[in-house]
């Protein structure tokens, strides 16, 4: 166990030494990895923030039913009964036209306008929450309610939010594709870097193999180089995202102050940050593994 640990420590030190031997090439590789990974992870952060925003704004989807201006109280009562017995309705709230007008008066800025009205322009309304809030169910419920005789207008409030959700899902898919493509590219980058490393260490590998080194022993320092490079690339990607979000957040703070809404961008959370770095390290490891294995296969005696 102690020997095993010390062998790994030796390989790790050797890997660090080799990375330091070519500081310029190492830094270049690390930045390539970092920049490539910052793209999907930055988009991911943006999308997460958009998702948060849409959740904040939309809340629970609801259907607003506006009755015609001529609706009588009997018709209102009739609709109340219909809604109560409807299987798709979870609960509903009746907003009489007088109350709607009072609420409108309370709203800032337009009370003068409201006061100048000679009659109440608002209809009676119902706010309905559906049992099933899927887009199809809401759509069906809205269509059904629209066909009721005294319904003047039925509006599905959160339709736009659902559209946004769908859009976000597409966005996530795009990020996933992007991440996969860039991951392949990163494996290729590491593959090539390690291949060059192998070429400079060719004699050492040959001698080690001749005097009884296992493939695992030969691979180990290269795997450490790949993984360390990947890890450093992951850290760079994380830093790029963190700085960008910070800068954007400042810009947005100005914007939100002007629009008097409260929006703060979230950074990558801890577990996502950790995943990013580990994933990047794993990609480096994989590229190195493929590279050394291919080389060892080539020099295998036949």
């Amino acid at each position: 166990m102690k020997n095993w640990l010390s062998q790994h420590a030796q390989s790790l030190l050797l890997a660090l030494k080799r990375l330091r031997q070519n500081p310029f090439a190492s830094l270049l590789n690390i930045s390539v990895i970092g920049i490539a990974l910052s793209l999907p992870s930055g988009l991911y952060v943006l999308l997460n923030n958009l998702e948060n925003l849409s959740r904040q704004v939309s809340g629970e989807p609801q259907i607003s039913l506006f009755l015609s201006m001529q609706a009588t109280s009997a018709e209102v009562a009739q609709i109340q009964v219909q809604l109560k017995s409807h299987p798709g309705v979870r609960n509903f709230q009746f907003v009489p036209r007088d109350q709607a007008l009072r609420e409108l008066q309370k709203a800032a800025g337009i009370s003068d306008v409201v006061q100048s009205l000679t009659q109440n322009p608002l209809p009676d309304a119902f706010i309905i929450h559906a049992k099933n809030s899927s887009a199809e169910a809401l759509q069906a419920l809205r269509d059904e309610i629209s066909s009721w005789p005294s319904a003047a207008h039925v509006q599905l409030d959160s339709l736009w939010a659902q559209r946004l959700d769908a859009l976000l899902r597409v966005g996530k898919l795009i990020i996933l594709l992007l991440a996969i493509l860039l991951s392949v590219a990163l494996v290729a980058v590491t593959f090539n870097t390690i291949r060059l490393q192998i070429l400079t260490q060719r004699e050492e590998i040959e001698v080690a193999k001749l005097i009884g080194a296992t493939h695992r022993f030969i691979r180990r320092p290269f795997l450490y180089i790949g993984a360390l490079q990947g890890l450093a690339g992951g850290v760079v990607a994380w830093a790029i995202v963190a700085v960008s979000v910070h800068v954007l957040d400042k810009g947005i703070a100005e914007l939100t102050r002007l629009y008097t809404i409260n929006l703060q961008l979230n950074q990558l959370n801890h577990s996502d940050s950790l995943s990013l770095m580990l994933f990047s390290a794993w990609l480096g490891w994989l590229g190195a593994w493929m590279s050394v294995s291919r080389y060892l296969h080539q020099i295998e005696p036949r």
Binding site: W4, V207, P301
Partner: protein, 217 residues
């Protein structure tokens, strides 16, 4: 300990390096392989150390058939051998000490014990005072002795040397031969290949003569 039966080696292109070689070696024997260049001496040693595989026939080392060995088992077979090469195959960016340390690092030897063994091996070949220098500063004879130190640091049961004196003058060469003799005296099985038959005869060896890939005697 080492037994070859009807071993043939044909290289791609149809060149037959070895034809139908059979012989058996006992533990502790000292065998010299000789013959003109191109007779198949190096090939024979490479086959024994499983650096190359025979085209036909079987090679048994310590009861293991090396020709049918899984690739993953080959490194463990190699550790039974100490290999001395004509071109030394030293690592020039490592110090003398680190070169000899390499086989012990490979086997995962404990560090303090490793340092002791490295110094013992260097002492044996007379290079103890050069442990911190780089191999490039050593003379040809010293480089060959360094290669021998690396071959024996693992205390192998079998020492394989391919043209160990090829590039050396006579005085250095006889030093090296004396070293092999002394290893053999402590029980190591030694196989030395060289075109220089007169040099080999000083070892009092069992002589294997190769002629165009065939065993002559």
């Amino acid at each position: 300990m080492i037994s070859l039966s009807q071993v043939c080696k044909r290289y791609p292109g149809g060149y037959d390096a070895l034809k139908n070689i059979s012989f058996t070696m006992q533990p502790g024997e000292l065998v010299a392989v000789t013959g003109h260049s191109g007779a198949g001496k190096s090939t024979l040693l490479k086959l024994i150390a499983a650096i190359e595989r025979p085209t036909r026939g079987s090679i048994i080392v310590n009861g293991q058939n090396t020709s049918s060995l899984r690739p993953a088992a080959v490194p463990y077979l190699r550790r039974k051998f100490g290999l001395v090469f004509q071109d030394h195959k030293l690592l020039f960016e490592r110090t003398v000490f680190e070169n000899v340390l390499l086989p012990l690092q490979i086997t995962g030897f404990e560090r303090k014990e490793s340092a002791k063994r490295v110094r013992a091996a260097l002492d044996k070949v007379g290079l103890l005072d050069k442990e911190k220098t780089l191999p490039i500063t050593l003379s040809g004879g010293e480089q060959q002795r360094l290669c021998i130190a690396r071959a024996i640091v693992n205390r192998p049961a079998i020492l394989l040397a391919d043209e160990p004196t090829g590039n050396l003058d006579a005085a250095y060469a006889s030093d090296i031969m004396e070293l092999f003799k002394s290893f053999n005296q402590v029980g190591v099985t030694v196989i030395v290949a060289s075109h220089d038959e007169a040099m080999l005869m000083r070892l009092n060896p069992r002589l294997l003569k190769l002629n165009r890939g065939e065993l002559a005697s």
